[in-house]
């Protein structure tokens, strides 16, 4: 936006090991001033450790942390222009809401805090609760106090460690919008750690997906969703159907693949694997991109679409859509979400169907990776 980059966060080669365990592999990351950045991953992926290294609560084993042009790697937390909204809030139980919010101001020797604290409490709609103790508030209210307590210090960067994890679903959705609104209003860099992919996608303008102490992929939510480059990202962000296929022929634009006798086309630009002729590729397609036709209507499917044949194994009606599980020779248990616009009464479990989709929605991944990474089932396997 402007030349002011004091709110930039630059991590260079930052890593953390505990004895023989590597929590975060050395990573480089730049979060530009004023952006809403999300670190997304399952628990234990290193996202919270990364956040804590920015806050100064964890000393990195290697690398440096810069805020703007200032190297803060070895600064203690109380000297960093950064504030944190902690998981489960960590409000001071012996202080009332007013004093909790005023804490940071008072520590910096600011005498007249009344006006600022009251304005901040109004911003988070807690003006009435100023003299209550934290335990007298509901979870959502405590969460807003935690945000107010951090924001009142006008930090260069606000760090949020799973701030909505303790709230119920409805309140969580509401607070997501609220936080997004506050971020737009104050224009501070937000770095948000979450394991909830929906939360990351609705709130952040850039998402870094972390897995096993590494950043798997970084990008805008739509980009990550439409063009995942690893099976982990494909499975962790929403649901993907991954089909093992063999490269038949390839041109500059398209790769033609064979999967159990069916022919699939994949734009070469959307394939993140080298895919030489004769090699293996995982073909990915999102469930909502697939259309379903009864086998009797196979003839009416337009030319140039990817097709697979199969049999409906299961169908669950969930209101806006129906979710089908389809067994196909190419891939067991394909998911297909069909909007309930015109329901075909013949599409019941046991029916033979043809799945078809536009090749433009297909993506290709390296077949050397675990196909079920990021599904939440690979741990048990």
């Amino acid at each position: 936006m402007t030349t002011d980059n004091s709110g930039d966060v630059r991590l260079s080669g930052i890593g953390k090991t505990y004895g023989a365990f590597t929590a975060v592999h050395p990573l480089d990351l730049t979060v530009p001033q004023g952006s809403f950045f999300a670190l997304l991953g399952a628990s234990g992926c290193g996202k919270t450790t990364t956040l804590r290294m920015i806050a100064g609560l964890e000393e990195p084993t290697s690398g440096t942390v810069h805020l703007g042009d200032q190297d803060v790697t070895h600064l203690p937390p109380y000297k960093r222009p950064v504030n944190t909204v902690f998981q489960s809030y960590a409000l001071f139980p012996h202080l009332d809401i007013f004093e909790n919010v005023a804490f940071g101001l008072r520590r910096r020797g600011i005498k007249s805090v009344k006006k600022q604290v009251e304005d901040m409490l109004d911003l988070v709609q807690l003006g009435e609760q100023a003299r209550k103790k934290p335990h007298q508030l509901s979870g959502g209210q405590q969460q807003r106090v935690a945000v107010a307590r951090a924001l009142i210090n006008h930090p260069k960067v606000l760090l949020l460690d799973e701030p909505l994890g303790a709230l119920d679903l409805k309140l969580r959705r509401q607070m997501q919008l609220e936080l997004k609104r506050i971020q737009t209003e104050v224009g501070i860099t937000f770095i948000h750690v979450t394991h909830d992919q929906e939360e990351a996608m609705t709130m952040a303008d850039t998402v870094a997906v972390m897995n096993g102490g590494r950043v798997e992929q970084l990008g805008a939510p739509t980009d990550l969703y439409e063009n995942p480059r690893t099976t982990f990202v494909a499975n962790f962000l929403g649901t993907s159907n991954l089909i093992e296929a063999e490269v038949d022929t390839r041109s500059d634009e398209d790769i033609v693949l064979k999967a159990a006798g069916d022919k699939l086309v994949l734009p070469a630009a959307r394939c993140s694997a080298p895919a030489p002729a004769g090699g293996k590729v995982l073909v990915g397609i999102r469930p909502e991109k697939i259309a379903l036709a009864h086998a009797d209507d196979a003839g009416s499917i337009p030319e140039g679409r990817n097709r697979l044949t199969g049999k409906i194994a299961d169908a669950s009606f969930i209101g806006v859509s129906t979710q089908y599980v389809i067994d196909s020779p190419a891939c067991a248990e394909l998911s297909v979400y069909v909007q309930n616009v015109e329901r075909d009464a013949r599409l019941v479990p046991g029916a033979d169907v043809v799945l078809h989709w536009s090749p433009a929605h297909t993506f290709g991944l390296d077949a050397a990776q675990a196909i079920d990474a990021g599904t939440g089932e690979e741990v048990a396997a």
Partner: protein, 309 residues
């Protein structure tokens, strides 16, 4: 039809079994309270009433004692022994402050820094309890002996000059001085300070320290503004557990002190067991109890921890 006629029987026994547990359950808490209440009545309430009646009796050992509602005993006892009362409170307060100064850092260390040594240090804190109170206090006689290393060290460091000047010690000795009694009290009641302090420190969420640091509080400020206020319940119960028994203690003064360091506990013991003036002894006990109750009430009010304890 046959299935219908068969259906009622299982219902019939179900009704009586459903009711009794509820009835029995209603009184269960009281039955469970009973042993404790009996214990308190027999060993606390009854002796207390008995002592109260003794304190207002007159008479002599030969003629027997009678309740004459002679409240003057209280005034006489207090006017004669107020120096010992005052001394008890000073010594107990001194020992309590020393316990707090020694115990807080140790409790802090155990709660936050000890790591895998935590249990070992806890055992070391409690270990003295495996030896008798008397023997431990007698051991201090050796530690503070006139020609022992402690006196020697204090002497060569000229600390004894300072304590002599303050009136805590006299001449070249520590034994038989107020300092020795306060040291004994401190030593004997230290675990009663450390344990409640540790419990309340250990309960503090470590993230609160992080949050304070994140909000620009230096470690020392974090301690002053977060850790210490949150440990107040432990400070209050620790000081009470130290002060109350120390104020009534007589063993330390008996073994480590002299006639000049007699505490109110020594007076009561002498009145009961040697002079056999039961009314005076009982009256002194009640005065001590009342004084402690008043002080403790004011203390708890002032420290504002009623809702934290």
């Amino acid at each position: 039809m046959s299935t219908l006629t068969e259906a009622p029987p299982p219902l019939a026994p179900a009704e009586p079994t459903a009711k009794p547990p509820r009835k029995r359950g209603r009184f269960t808490p009281y039955w469970l309270l009973l042993p404790g209440i009996l214990w308190l009545v027999v060993f606390f309430a009854l002796p207390l009433v008995y002592q109260a009646s003794t304190s207002v009796q007159t008479g002599s050992l030969e003629e027997g004692y009678k309740v004459t509602w002679h409240f003057a005993t209280y005034w006489n006892a207090f006017s004669e022994y107020w120096p010992q009362f005052l001394r008890s409170i000073f010594y107990a307060a001194g020992a309590t402050v020393l316990c707090l100064l020694l115990g807080y850092p140790l409790a802090y260390l155990i709660a936050f820094r000890a790591g895998r040594w935590r249990n070992l240090i806890m055992i070391l804190v409690i270990a003295p309890f495996f030896t008798s109170f008397l023997i431990r206090t007698l051991a201090w006689k050796t530690i503070l002996a006139d020609n022992g290393p402690v006196v020697h060290a204090l002497n060569s460091l000229h600390i004894l000059d300072l304590t002599n000047f303050l009136g805590w010690t006299a001449g070249d000795r520590v034994l038989a001085t107020p300092l020795a009694v306060v040291c004994g009290l401190t030593y004997n009641f230290l675990p009663f300070m450390i344990l409640p302090l540790y419990t309340s420190l250990e309960r503090i969420d470590g993230r609160l320290h992080e949050a304070a640091g994140d909000l620009y509080a230096k470690p020392s400020t974090t301690f002053r503004k977060v850790t210490f206020p949150l440990s107040m319940p432990g400070v209050v119960s620790g000081t009470l557990l130290t002060f109350i028994p120390a104020a009534g203690d007589y063993v330390n003064s008996e073994l480590l002190g002299s006639t000049d360091t007699r505490m109110i506990g020594n007076v009561i013991q002498t009145q009961f067991l040697r002079i056999l003036d039961y009314p005076t002894a009982a009256a002194l006990s009640f005065i001590l109890m009342a004084a402690i109750l008043v002080m403790v009430t004011i203390y708890i009010r002032r420290s504002g921890t009623e809702d934290l304890v």
